[in-house]
C-alpha cells in the first residue's frame, strides 16, 4: 500500500505523470501557466506595435535621448533592482528568515511604487506638455498614442497589481502565515513584470528613431 502510494507521488520518469509530474506545487504551476498566457498577450501587443510602427508613415519619435531615454533608463534600473530585492526576499524566506524576507519584499514594493511614480510623471509630461492622448497627438498619428498607452498602461497595471499582491504577501509572511513557496510564486509574477519591460524599453523608447 505504502509502496503503491510512493509510486504515484514519484513517477518513474519525468513524463510518467503521477501526483506531481513537474515536481512543484499547484500554486507555482498555476502561476507559470498564467505567466505564459500573459506573455502571449504582451507579445501580441508588442508585435502589433511594431507592425503599426513599420506600416505608418511619419511615426512620431518623441523620445529623445535626454531626458526621455535617460528617464526610461532610470525606470529600468529601478525595476531591475526591485527584481534583485524580490529574489533576495525569496532567498531569505527559503532560509527561514521571515523578518528579513518581509524587509526585502517591502523594498521590492518601494521599487515598484517608484517605477509607477516615474511612469506617471512621464505620462503626465506626454499628455499635458506634448498633447499626446490615446486618440490624438500633435503629429496626427493617433495610432501612436493608442498603442503607446495600451502597451505601457497594461504594463503599469501589472506593476500596480504586483505591488498590491506583494503587500498581501508581506503582511502574511509577517504574521507567520505564508510558506516559502507562496513568496516564490509572488516572486515569479514580479520577475515576469520586469521581463516584459526588458522588451518594452528597447522597442518603444530606444528605437524612437526615424525609419
Amino acid at each position: 500500500m505504502a509502496e503503491a502510494r510512493s509510486e504515484t507521488l514519484v513517477p518513474a520518469s519525468a513524463w510518467g505523470g503521477g501526483a506531481s509530474p513537474f515536481a512543484m506545487n499547484s500554486k507555482k504551476l498555476g502561476m507559470w501557466l498564467f505567466i505564459i498566457s500573459d506573455a502571449l498577450t504582451f507579445s501580441a501587443l508588442l508585435v502589433a506595435y511594431t507592425y503599426l510602427r513599420l506600416a505608418t508613415p511619419n511615426w512620431p519619435t518623441p523620445f529623445h535621448f535626454s531626458p526621455s531615454i535617460l528617464f526610461a533608463s532610470l525606470m529600468t534600473f529601478v525595476l531591475l533592482s526591485s527584481s534583485l530585492t524580490m529574489v533576495m526576499g525569496v532567498h531569505a524566506m527559503n532560509h527561514g528568515h521571515r523578518r528579513r524576507a518581509v524587509g526585502w519584499i517591502l523594498a521590492t514594493m518601494a521599487g515598484g511604487a517608484a517605477f509607477v511614480i516615474l511612469h506617471a510623471t512621464e505620462w503626465r509630461h506626454l499628455i499635458v506638455d506634448e498633447g499626446v492622448t490615446p486618440f490624438s497627438n500633435p503629429w496626427n498619428e493617433p495610432l501612436f498614442g493608442a498603442t503607446f498607452f495600451a502597451l505601457t498602461g497594461l504594463h503599469m497595471t501589472h506593476v500596480i497589481v504586483g505591488v498590491l499582491y506583494l503587500g498581501v504577501i508581506a503582511i502574511g509572511v509577517g504574521r507567520g502565515k505564508f510558506k516559502p513557496e507562496d513568496v516564490e510564486v509572488s516572486g515569479l509574477y514580479w520577475h515576469f513584470v520586469d521581463l516584459v519591460w526588458m522588451f518594452i524599453f528597447p522597442l518603444v523608447y530606444l528605437m524612437s528613431v526615424h525609419i
Partner: protein, 103 residues
C-alpha cells in the same frame, strides 16, 4: 520536489547579485547604442538579442527555471516561442506598406 527546491536554495545571494550586474551592464550597452545612433538594422538586432539574453537570465536565475525539471521548460516554452513566431506572420504586410510610403 525536494531536490529541485534544495538546488534553488543552495544558490548563493552572490549569484543573484552577479546576474543583476550583468542585466544592468547589458542595459547600459543598449542605452549606448541609442546614444551613438547605430545603423537601424544593427541596432534592432543588437537590442533584440540583448533583450532575449536578459529575459533568459531573468527566467533562469530570478525565476529559478534553471532549477526546475526540464519537463516544465519543455511543456511551457517551445509552444510559447512557436506562438510568438506565428505572430510574425503579419510582418511582411507591414514591410509592403513601408515600401508603398510616399517618399
Amino acid at each position: 520536489m525536494q531536490a529541485h527546491s534544495e538546488q534553488a536554495i543552495a544558490v548563493t545571494a552572490k549569484t543573484f547579485v552577479w546576474v543583476w550586474v550583468a542585466l544592468l551592464a547589458m542595459t547600459v550597452v543598449e542605452v549606448l547604442l541609442a546614444y551613438f545612433h547605430v545603423p537601424l538594422l544593427l541596432m534592432l538586432t543588437a537590442l533584440m538579442g540583448l533583450s532575449v539574453i536578459k529575459g533568459a537570465l531573468i527566467i533562469a536565475y530570478f525565476m529559478h527555471l534553471k532549477f526546475e525539471r526540464f519537463s516544465l521548460f519543455l511543456t511551457l516554452f517551445p509552444m510559447l516561442i512557436f506562438c510568438i513566431l506565428l505572430l510574425f506572420i503579419f510582418m511582411p504586410d507591414s514591410f509592403r506598406l513601408m515600401e508603398l510610403r510616399p517618399r
